[in-house]
Amino acid sequence: MEMLGIWLAVGCTIAIYSFLYKDNVVFKLAEHLYVGLSAGYGFCYAFFKIVWPDLLLPLGRVTVSSLGGTLSEPLSSHENWWLLIPLIFSILILTRFFRRIDWLSKWSFAFIIGTTAGITIPFVTSAYLIKQIVPSLRPLIIVENTLAQSIISSGNAILILIGIGAVLCYFFFSLEQKKTMKVISRIGIYYMMIAFGAAFGYTIMGRASLTIARFQHLVEWGSAKYAYASIVLFFGVTGLVVFTELLSRRGDDNKPSEIPKT
């Protein structure tokens, strides 16, 4: 079963990689299979790990207990009639299946969105504004062991403060970007170019890491231990791509080709 799994994984990987040649039938098959499998997986997970154990099972146990039935395990503190509230909101959400009463689902969405909005405001104000403003302003003058270190540290702290102000000025559209504002905004642009350059450098690292990890697996799976799965399937999938391309090209010669963007 493990070997079959590896061969399936390799087949899926190479089918997706066939997109590097261009958009083709084999890639599309793999892509659509992925969508279907993921959706089914998500449904099973939501049912088996959320709706059943957190709602239906506890409510069923509460009902049995109330009717005088015996339970294999005693009721815990979270198993009580209060669960009727999420049950009602859950049922309201499912009214989306019925066009005449689907407006009832809005009550559930309003409950979720309203509560989340209310909770968000104080937490993000505290974590992202107050706790971020303080270290931007204090300490600006930092005393270290040597004078040179102190100058460098204090200089950096001042540079951060200037940068924050300059970038905020660049995004402040209520004032016309003229004279002083224009100069400050230009400083902000340079700060952003440095930061975005850093982000670009990191992005290259991140994307390359994912490809390297995939190749590490493919090389491992191409060994004799896995019956040369990567090598065999590389030629197999390539053959399939060529075959489907030849089939689709029949009578397709007059169609304009897709222009690669990058």
Partner: protein, 223 residues
């Protein structure tokens, strides 16, 4: 009817929103327990909403098959994927229910058919899709990364320092490379990220207030 369809949801959002803003400032155990319970309920209701995702997907692809739109055959592959996942998820559980002692590893733990499918098809498919991006980034770097002005040059120099600073080679060439990288990340980068964070946070707070006070209603849909 308009009251039920429109005013009630707005009222629910207003009341729950205000309650939970106030709740933050009330450290009493009852207030804390209220938040714990309501967030638990939201988790359950959101879980139910996840079930809706599958039905929306099926409906979308059913329409494609019904109208025979371009590529409708691929929609059948989506159905096949859904069918396989659901069978792998539910069938072992049903079989175990019907037999006196469990005969299959059911559910969502290692060894169950659904997790086998996840490990050997869903995970490699997703990982491969993400790993494709590197190829297009390499191509874009060659075609689009141009030094047209000073700003682009600054961006390029910064990117190169970071690219070299993150790999062992950078430190081997000169210790100045990782040091400069650290300076970039801890001074100009912090300034920019923090300024953006302020903007995003103020935006999030404004949107939340608009939701609570019924100015923002897009979550209620068009009807």
């Amino acid at each position: 009817m308009v009251f039920l369809k429109k005013q009630i949801p707005l009222l629910i959002a207003l009341v729950t929103g205000i309650i939970f803003i106030i709740q933050f400032f009330v450290p009493h155990p009852a207030s804390q327990n209220l938040q714990a319970w309501v967030t638990k309920w939201i988790s359950i209701v959101t879980g139910t909403a996840l079930l809706l995702g599958l039905t929306s997907l099926i409906y979308l692809h059913y329409q494609k098959v019904k109208n025979k739109t371009t590529g409708w055959g691929f929609s059948l592959v989506v159905f096949l994927g859904v069918f396989i996942s659901l069978m792998a998820g539910f069938l072992p559980t049903i079989i175990n229910w019907l037999t006196p002692s469990p005969v299959l590893t059911a559910g969502m733990t290692k060894g169950s058919p659904l997790i086998w499918i996840f490990n050997n098809s869903i995970a490699p498919l997703q990982a491969s899709m993400f790993s494709l991006i590197a190829f297009f980034m390499a191509s874009a770097s060659f075609r689009a990364f141009r030094i047209k002005n000073i700003q682009a040059t600054v961006l390029l120099v910064s990117a190169m320092i970071i690219m070299l600073g993150q790999i062992p080679l950078g430190g081997l060439i000169s210790s100045a490379i990782p040091d400069t990288m650290t300076w970039i990340l801890t001074v100009p980068n912090i300034a920019v990220r923090r300024a953006i964070l302020f903007g995003v946070t103020l935006g999030a707070i404004a949107t939340s207030l608009k939701i609570i006070f019924g100015i923002e209603q897009s979550y209620l849909g068009s009807k």
